[in-house]
């Protein structure tokens, strides 16, 4: 197989998938860092975001890319509400209970999607899209948009975290929650802010997955393992790590069909996860270990 075919059929899809995983992994690493638990409902929150966008597309006839920001906002609100309803009171007691609760929330979110939209596959737009060709590299418009939007979101997030007062407060909470409280940082507001960002990123990840493949109620759940593997691979609590991990896993998954049966794509993420935990639990970029 020549280089161009490899790029077109494996690398490009891998990069796109990697971008999607990166967005999800950033959210996961933020929850690990600031809130200190494994957010098992992350995938299904992405599913919800994707389907909310679908509702806007089918209900109001919006262009999917126009519906995206609204879906992101709605998911952000839902994320904060879910925290307030189901996680808040457990945080004081024990982190692992929050993890269990999040598994329950995952199930509930999935059930809601299945009840409202049914179990069949759906799409934002019908028909077949042809890829454009740039110097022999074939990439679809929506793939370019996906990559562009991902870059924009990531840059926006990094700017927020590095230069704004509340972004720094989030980093402080992730770094040393007791000291943050002692300094007068309002941890409840910071938590709400974190969930807002999580909701935004989840919806985006779900949307990008949906627009590049299709929408199914289990789509987010199947992303959960790769997203966690990416976050741990890169280093828990590190955003750059989540991005790196996401890209590695996305590209690895797409290339894995060269030597693994297609059904076992997700097995790869799992194996990478176990290897990282066994060999280097702090991840490639040396994050935290919970």
């Amino acid at each position: 197989m020549d280089l161009l075919s490899f790029v077109n059929f494996y690398l490009i899809p891998g990069i796109v998938l990697g971008a999607i995983y990166a967005l999800g992994a950033i959210g996961i690493t933020l929850v690990f860092g600031v809130l200190r638990f494994a957010h098992l409902a992350h995938g299904d929150m992405a599913t919800l975001g994707a389907f909310l966008a679908l509702a806007l597309v089918t209900g109001l006839g919006l262009n999917p890319w126009v519906a995206l920001p609204f879906a992101m906002a709605a998911t952000a609100v839902i994320a904060v509400t879910l925290h307030w309803l189901f996680y808040e009171h457990l945080r004081r007691r024990s982190a692992i209970l929050t993890v269990i609760a999040s598994l329950g929330v995952a199930l509930m979110l999935r059930a809601v999607v299945q009840v409202i939209w049914g179990a069949d596959s759906q799409s934002y737009v019908g028909g077949i899209t042809r890829p454009e060709s740039y110097f022999g590299i074939r990439i679809k418009d929506r793939e370019l948009w996906t990559l562009g939007a991902t870059v924009a979101l990531v840059i926006g997030l990094q700017l927020f975290l590095t230069f704004t007062r509340w972004g720094k407060a989030m980093r402080a909470m992730s770094d040393n929650p007791d000291l943050a409280r002692l300094s007068g940082i309002d941890t409840r507001l910071t938590t709400a802010l974190t969930w807002t960002i999580i909701g935004l990123l989840c919806a985006a990840a779900g949307f990008f997955l949906g627009i590049n493949t299709e929408l199914k109620p289990l789509m987010g759940w199947y992303m959960l393992l790769p997203m966690f593997a990416a976050a741990i691979l890169g280093g828990v609590g590190r955003i750059e790590g989540a991005i790196l991990g996401g890209m590695v896993i996305g590209i690895a998954e797409e290339c894995s069909v060269l030597f693994l049966p297609a059904e076992y794509k997700s097995a790869l993420a799992f194996v990478i996860l176990l290897i990282m935990l066994a060999v280097r639990p702090t991840g490639l970029l040396r994050g935290k270990v919970l």
Partner: protein
């Protein structure tokens, strides 16, 4: 943040009992701190010295007695309320944001400030000139002594009237220890009262204006710093001879 009438203490702890969870560690302690004093708390291990600081700052439960700061009853207040009314607290361990830069650490200390951030930064950099060139370095990468400066600086960013220090020289070499004590004097010179807990009693008492000796959660002795050092009986009983 107002000053009380001159002459009266800014902090008064009266008959305070409390502790973590079930058992009380403090059994009715009393102490006062005047507006520009350096007051020390010394005593054997497990005396409740650190717990006393935490009780003042609202980090442990107070089950009896009263704590007044600048004529306000702050007993039972949550830490972020106390920090607002002019008390800063520097814990013994984990007292910096390791992954954040020196400048960011100070900014976090000033999180509650509505304005005057730059002036506050100036004041802290004047007090700790060593930090100026390190201000873009991660706090965790600094030496022990410089990290303590960051920890102090963070607590000073809100211009507190009173600074609570929990074993500020713990784990530091003798050279840095002396440096820290000098910093405490500088802090007091800048107008801040200091209440500090120290394990190295003799060194600390040498420069404290006054000090309290605690043992088993109770007051045992009180006096001027040098006075307590000179008292052989007290040194024998409580300060490790």
């Amino acid at each position: 943040m107002s000053h009380t009438q001159t002459g009266g203490p800014i902090l008064s702890v009266a008959g305070v009992s409390g502790g973590y969870g079930g058992a009380d560690i403090l059994h009715g302690i009393d102490m006062t701190v005047g507006p520009h004093e350096i007051v020390g708390i010394v005593g054997p291990n497990g005396a409740g010295k650190s717990t006393a600081l935490k009780a003042i700052f609202g980090l442990v439960q107070v089950r009896g007695g009263a704590i007044r700061f600048e004529n306000r009853d702050i007993t039972g207040w949550a830490p972020n309320r106390i920090v607002r009314c002019g008390i800063g607290y520097v814990p013994q361990v984990d007292n910096v944001f390791r992954e954040m830069t020196v400048a960011e650490n100070l900014e976090m200390g000033a999180f509650l400030r509505r304005h005057g951030l730059d002036e506050a930064l100036e004041r802290v950099y004047t007090l700790f000139p060593d930090l100026v060139e390190k201000r873009r370095k991660a706090a965790g990468s600094l030496s022990g002594g410089q990290r303590q400066m960051v920890a102090f600086g963070r607590a000073l960013m809100l211009d507190p009237q009173l600074l609570l220090l929990d074993e500020p020289t713990a784990g530091l070499s003798p050279r840095y220890r002396e440096q820290i004590f000098q910093i405490v004097r500088d802090v007091r010179a800048a107008g801040v009262a200091v209440l500090l807990v120290e394990q190295h009693a003799k060194q600390a008492l040498a420069f404290c204006d006054r000090a309290y000796v605690l043992a088993s959660g109770r007051n045992r002795a009180e006096g001027t710093g040098p006075g307590l050092v000179a008292d052989r009986e007290i040194a024998q009983m409580f300060l490790g001879g």
